[in-house]
C-alpha cells in the first residue's frame, strides 16, 4: 500500500533575533508525515522541538522569524500562503494542542462556547447544531454528563478534564493533522495515560496524522510510529520507532536512552551524559553534541546532514552503533 504523504517539511529554519545575537532555534530541518501516522519529536529544553511545531502553523512571533524552507501540506507550501488562506488551515485542517490546558482555554467563556466557536467559524454550523455537536464531542473525549459540563467554565474542571476539552476543540473541525506540544506534561501519570490513550484512539479512528512533541522518550516510544530526535536546532536522528529505539545510531540518542532509570533493571549508578547543553548563542561548529560526546574524535562527520543508517532510519552520526553497548541496554 502506497502511503499518502500529507506533510513535507524541507530545510526549515527559524531564527530568533535577540539583543544578544541570533538564536538559531531550528536550523534546517526536513521531515515528512504520512496519513494516519504519528511522528514523535523528542528533545530537551532548547532543542527546538516546540519552535518546529509552532513554525508549521506560522505561529512564530517577534523577534522570531521563519528564515527559509518549505512546509508543504498536501503539496501546498504553507509558508507562501496569505494570512487569510492560513486562517482556513490553522485550527481547521491542522490544529494544535498545547501543554497547559489552563492557559489555552479562555477562563471567562464556557466550555461549550469555546467548542461551538470552532464549529461556527470553520464548519458553518448553526448555533443550535453546533451545540448538539459540541455535546457529542465532549462525550467522545470521555467527559461524563456532557449536557451539564457544556455550560461549565474551565476553572470548574480538573486538569485532565480540561485537556479533554482542549482535545475536543482541536478535533471539532476534523483536522487532517494534529500537533500536540507536550500535551500531558502538566498532568499526573494516571491521567497522562488516560489522555494519551484517548488521543491514540481518536487518531486511529479518524485516520488523522499526529505530531507529538515531548521531552519524554519513553512516552513517545509508546505511541509514535516514527521518532525524530532534536538537539540544539538540528535533527540528529530520525526514523522508524522500532529501529531508533533498538539500535540508536547517534551517541546523544543512546545517551538519552541510557540515562533513563528503567523499572525492570537494577543498576547502581545511572549512566549520565556529561556536561551541559551549549549556549544557543554560541553553538559549536558541525556536530553540536561533540563537546559532550564520549566518542568524539577527528573522525567525526563534519556536517549535520542526515544519512541513511538502515532502511527508514537516518542519523547525523552512527558512532553509537560501532561502540554499541546493546546488551547492557534494557529495552522492553
Amino acid at each position: 500500500m502506497q502511503k499518502e504523504k500529507i506533510l513535507e517539511v524541507n530545510n526549515l529554519k527559524t531564527y530568533f533575533y535577540t539583543r544578544e545575537g541570533v538564536v538559531k532555534s531550528v536550523n534546517g530541518v526536513s521531515f515528512e508525515v504520512n496519513k494516519g501516522e504519528i511522528l514523535g519529536i523528542v528533545g530537551e529544553s532548547g532543542a527546538g522541538k516546540s519552535v518546529t511545531g509552532f513554525s508549521l502553523l506560522r505561529l512564530i512571533e517577534e523577534p522570531g522569524e521563519i528564515v527559509s524552507g518549505e512546509v508543504k501540506f498536501k503539496g501546498q507550501d504553507l509558508l507562501k500562503m496569505s494570512e487569510k488562506e492560513m486562517n482556513k488551515i490553522r485550527g481547521n485542517k491542522i490544529s494544535m494542542i498545547f501543554q497547559d490546558p489552563m492557559t489555552s482555554l479562555n477562563p471567562v467563556l464556557t466550555v461549550g462556547r469555546q467548542i461551538t466557536e470552532v464549529l461556527i467559524f470553520h464548519q458553518n454550523y448553526s448555533r443550535k447544531d453546533a451545540r448538539r455537536r459540541a455535546v457529542e464531542l465532549l462525550e467522545m473525549v470521555g467527559i461524563s454528563s456532557p449536557e451539564k459540563r457544556i455550560d461549565h467554565y474551565p476553572s470548574q474542571l480538573s486538569g485532565g478534564m480540561r485537556q479533554r476539552v482542549v482535545i475536543a476543540i482541536a478535533l471539532a473541525s476534523n483536522p487532517e493533522i494534529l500537533i500536540a506540544d507536550e500535551p500531558t506534561t502538566a498532568l499526573d501519570v494516571t491521567i497522562q495515560a488516560q489522555i494519551i490513550g484517548l488521543m491514540k484512539n481518536l487518531i486511529d479512528k479518524f485516520n488523522t496524522s499526529m505530531i507529538i512533541i515531548s521531552h519524554d522518550l519513553a512516552l513517545i516510544s509508546e505511541i509514535a510510529d516514527k521518532i525524530m530526535v532534536m538537539y540544539a536546532g538540528d535533527i540528529i536522528e530520525y526514523g522508524d520507532k522500532g529501529k531508533l529505539i533498538s539500535e540508536p545510531a547517534h551517541p546523544y540518542t543512546q545517551g538519552l536512552i541510557d540515562s533513563l532509570p528503567v523499572l525492570e533493571r537494577d543498576q547502581k549508578r545511572l549512566n549520565q551524559i556529561k556536561g551541559l547543553m551549549p549556549s544557543p548563542l554560541d553553538l559549536p561548529e558541525g556536530c553540536k553534541f561533540k563537546p559532550r560526546c564520549d566518542y568524539a574524535g577527528d573522525d567525526c562527520p563534519e556536517g549535520t546532514e542526515l544519512f541513511e543508517v538502515s532502511k527508514a532510519h537516518f542519523a547525523t552520526c552512527r558512532k553509537a552503533q560501532f561502540f554499541s553497548k546493546k546488551l547492557m541496554r534494557g529495552v522492553g
Partner: protein, 322 residues
Amino acid sequence: MSLLKVDNLKKYFAVSSGFLARLRKKESYVHAVNGVSFDIKKGETLSLVGESGCGKSTIGRTVLGLYEPTAGDIYYDGRRVNDMSEKEKFKLKEKMQMIFQDPYSSLNPRQKVKEIISEPIRTHNIVSNEEMDDYILKLLDKVGIDESYLNRYPHQFSGGQRQRIGIARSLAVEPEFIVADEPISALDVSIQAQILNLMMDLQEEFHLTYLFIAHDLSVVKHISDRVAIMYLGKVFEIGDKKEIFDHPVHPYTEALFVSIPKLTEKTKENFVSLEGDVPDPIYLPSGCYFHSRCKYASNICREVEPELKEIDGRQVACHLYD
C-alpha cells in the same frame, strides 16, 4: 533505632469560606494528610510517591517544622519534637535540611553563590569567618561547581548547576537528615541522572538520611531503600523497595506502575489503567479513599476504611487481603 518517626500525622488546611459559613461555624478543610505513620532509619532513603494532591510535600514540610501538624507527633532521634525547647528546635534545624524542587525560585537572585552558601553557615555558626572561604570552596568542590563561579549570580547558571548550588547550601550546616522535594523533576533528562548520582554519592560520603519526595516511580526505584505509596493523604503501601517494585500488591500501586511510560520498540496497546480523577480532598470519600476508581471495589470498601496490615513482607491498606 529510627532517626525520624512520624506517628499518625494529620494536616488540614482551612479553606477561606464565606461570611455565612463562618457565622454558622462551618469551616471546610482541605484534608492534605490523613493519619500517616512511618519511620526512617539512619542512613536510609525513604521515598514518598504519589500523584499531585496526595500530601507528600505537606508531609515533608511538616516534618521540617514549616507547618504545624493538625494532629500526630514527630520524633527525631527518639525525642518528640513538640517537647523540645526553642533552643533545641533551633539546633534541630541544623540537622534537618531541605532540597527544593525548583532551582529557579529557591535561590535568591540578588545574592552571589558565596552569599547564598555562607548565610546558613553564619546563622548556625558552623565555621569562623576566617575559615569561611575555604569551607565554601570545599563544599562547591563536593557538588561539582568550579571555584571560579564563587562570585556569580544564580541567573548565570543552568538549572542543573543551580540545583547543585542548592544542594551545597543544604550541606553547609552538616545536616544528618535531608528532605528532597522533587529535586530533579524540573531538570532535563540528561541532567537528572547527574543530580541523582550526586545525591547518592553525597549520601554515602556524609551518611545522610533522605526523605525523598517524587512522583516519578522509576527515579524513586533508583534512589530509595524503602518506598511509601500515597493517595489522598494516606499511605496505601509501604515497604522495602525491592518487594514493592518486584510485586506491587495494592491496586493503586499496580495501576501507577502500569501508567508509567516505558521505553519500548512496540506501540502500547492499552494505555488506560485507572478511570476518573482523584476525589476532592475537601470532601473525603467514605471507606477506602480509592474505592471510586478501583476495579476490585466491593461493599466493604465503600464503608470501612482499611488499616495497614503486613502482607508479603510489606504493609498494605486494602480489603482485598482481609
